[in-house]
């Protein structure tokens, strides 16, 4: 694979400026830092789709709420780590026909995890309510550590290319360190490059910016 065309120093410099400017213009919320990618030599009509998600090294969505549909063992684990959970009785109480309650549940949390035995029953227990909002639960197996899995869910960012040749990836927020953001940026770029057949030849420009701040070109 060809070497990276941008250096992490370059990225950190831009991130440092973003942080400085964000600190100077403090907003009422924690600003997201975004990587914007403009593509070239890619035809959405014939080239393979490559939308997906990246698991980054640091949590990018601190306020992201996760609820676990937990079997007995997971209920205990959730209680121990202070994670929100619902057991099968609680789910049965809602019932698949109770649209209002299911909608409320789906709005309350950003994502759901479920123990294997419960996961299979979700269509029967709740109908397609969670499908409809794109929040169908992810599997939480007993061989995984719950806290780690929740953290992973919070560190996973989506990137989607629609009809125009640009996509944005949320790589962190201004309360992370410069180093963490720079690492996330480089990880994201390298991952995207691996899905593009022309690699760096598919990248026209790269920018990073905070929600309210200005863009900084890094490639």
């Amino acid at each position: 694979m060809s070497g990276s065309k941008i250096s992490s120093d370059q990225v950190r410099q831009s991130v440092a400026t973003i942080f400085a400017e964000a600190a100077a213009n403090k907003r009422g919320f924690c600003e997201t830092v975004e990587l914007q990618v403009n593509l070239k030599n890619y035809d959405t009509k014939k080239d393979k789709r490559f939308s997906g998600q990246i698991k980054l090294s640091t949590v990018t969505k601190p306020k992201f709420s996760v609820c676990v549909f937990a079997d007995q063992q997971h209920c205990d684990e959730a209680t121990k780590i202070g994670a929100e959970f619902m057991d099968i009785e609680a789910l049965k109480k809602i019932g698949p026909k109770n649209k209002k309650a299911i909608k409320k549940l789906s709005k309350k949390y950003d994502a759901f995890l479920a123990s294997e035995t419960i996961l299979r029953q979700v269509p029967k227990l709740l109908g397609p309510g969670l499908n409809k909002v794109g929040k169908f639960p992810l599997l939480l197996s007993h061989s995984e550590d719950m806290a780690t899995k929740i953290s992973e869910v919070k560190s996973t960012v989506k990137f989607q290319l629609k009809k125009v040749l640009c996509l944005a990836v949320a790589v962190g927020h201004i309360q992370l360190t410069e180093r963490e953001i720079a690492t996330n940026v480089i990880q994201s770029i390298n991952f995207l490059i691996s899905l593009l057949k022309k690699g760096w030849q598919n990248i026209k420009t790269l920018y990073i910016k905070s929600s309210m701040g200005r863009s900084f070109r890094i490639y």
Binding site: K45, K46, G52, R120, P128, N131
Partner: protein, 366 residues
């Protein structure tokens, strides 16, 4: 097996005509023809033996995603094609003409056919259509939130349909259930956006899924469990076998020997075939297709009777491969997948060895 390139077709007819240079996006095969759709929205029909162009089907006005060849008893065949132009078109192969067009409200990314029942993935909706009555039978719009990328009737039980989507979900529908929501009897979360899937196993009881992010997973349909997620498989294979793997084309299953194969490739057009051990999930090198293409290979078809292999690529070529070693598939049979006893208790989704041609259903699921 040792595959060598036997011949190839250049899908571009007019060399130098910029409008005709195109990717070969998808193709369908029967005993006589290869029907290939190009990124210029044309479907070209080739004589499979002579490798010559016999017809061009013009009509689609946007990207063609899948085609399906159905042989008829009189030796003729019909070809179905679906497109982003929101139509499914049906073409007669003898006449090389359009015989039916089905219009939908959304782009259609995948289709499958059982008798005269057509199932379509239209954006995020699953639509079941009767080709004879020319009407929609059912629509499922609450299973997925993003484009359905592949939809198939279960090979052993056509009252069951499976769909996968960019939203990462795998949905299983039971057409015997009258209520559209209750008909979604199983939902598996593939986590990553899914680009395709296929059935395998003696009774097609398992499925593999492939993601736009080049991830492979194996699932047991009856219990709804994920048997294996291969992780960053491109990286694993690259390191293990010292050949750079950039993407996966397909997974193919050979029923008689119960062998499962993964077709992987690099951006230069080389294809590597791996055998997947269904007990340990280890991959071993099986064969390779070299010097046949110079760009991403989008489709591979392996004829299990003749053992001929056909591949199509973004380099505008369709290549035909023959095994230079032996004419029969004589490799060891694979043992059956062992599913944990515990997983079989909680679910009743069974796909008996039902005869798909049975017309004895008292309640017509369609």
């Amino acid at each position: 097996m040792n595959f060598k390139l036997a011949s190839s077709i250049l899908h571009t007819v007019q060399i130098g005509d910029p409008d005709d240079i195109c990717y070969v996006l998808y193709f369908s095969v029967n005993g006589n023809i290869v029907a290939a759709s190009g990124s210029n929205n044309l479907i070209k029909i080739y004589n499979r033996k002579e490798k010559v162009l016999v017809n061009i089907l013009k009509g689609h006005t946007d990207q063609i995603h899948e085609t399906l060849l159905k042989d008829k008893t009189d030796g003729n065949a019909i070809l179905l094609s679906c497109s982003s132009d929101k139509t499914v078109r049906i073409w007669d192969m003898y006449q090389a003409s359009l015989v039916q067009t089905i219009h939908q409200q959304d782009e259609i990314f995948s289709i499958d056919l059982y008798q005269n029942f057509l199932v379509m993935g239209c954006s995020n909706k699953l639509v079941l259509y009767d080709l004879v009555k020319k009407s929609v039978i059912r629509t499922f719009d609450s299973s997925h939130t993003e484009d359905i990328t592949r939809v198939r009737f279960h090979p052993n039980d056509p009252t069951k349909i499976v769909s996968v989507s960019m939203d990462g979900l795998i949905c299983l529908y039971d057409l015997n259930q009258a209520d559209d929501e209750e008909a979604i009897i199983s939902v598996l979360n593939g986590e990553f956006p899914l680009s395709s899937f296929g059935f395998f196993g003696k009774n097609s009881e398992f499925i593999f899924t492939l993601s736009t992010q080049e991830r492979l997973a194996i699932w047991d349909l009856a219990s709804g469990t994920r048997l294996k997620e291969f992780g960053d498989l491109r990286q694993i294979l690259t390191e293990r076998f010292q050949k750079e793997i950039n993407y996966f084309v397909n997974v193919d299953y050979h029923l008689e020997s119960n062998n499962l194969f993964l077709f992987a490739g690099d951006y230069q057009g080389n294809i590597y075939i791996y055998l997947i051990n269904q007990t340990t999930w280890e991959l071993s090198e099986f064969s390779q297709l070299l010097n046949g293409h110079s760009d991403i290979v989008r489709n591979i078809y392996w004829d299990k009777n003749t053992l001929e292999l056909i591949s199509s690529s973004e380099d505008s070529k369709i290549s035909f491969w023959q095994d230079s070693n032996q004419p029969t598939m004589e490799f060891k049979s694979s043992p059956r997948i062992n599913i944990d006893e515990n997983n079989n208790n909680n679910n009743n989704n069974s796909f008996g060895k039902q005869n798909p041609k049975s017309k004895n259903n008292k309640s017509n699921p369609y």
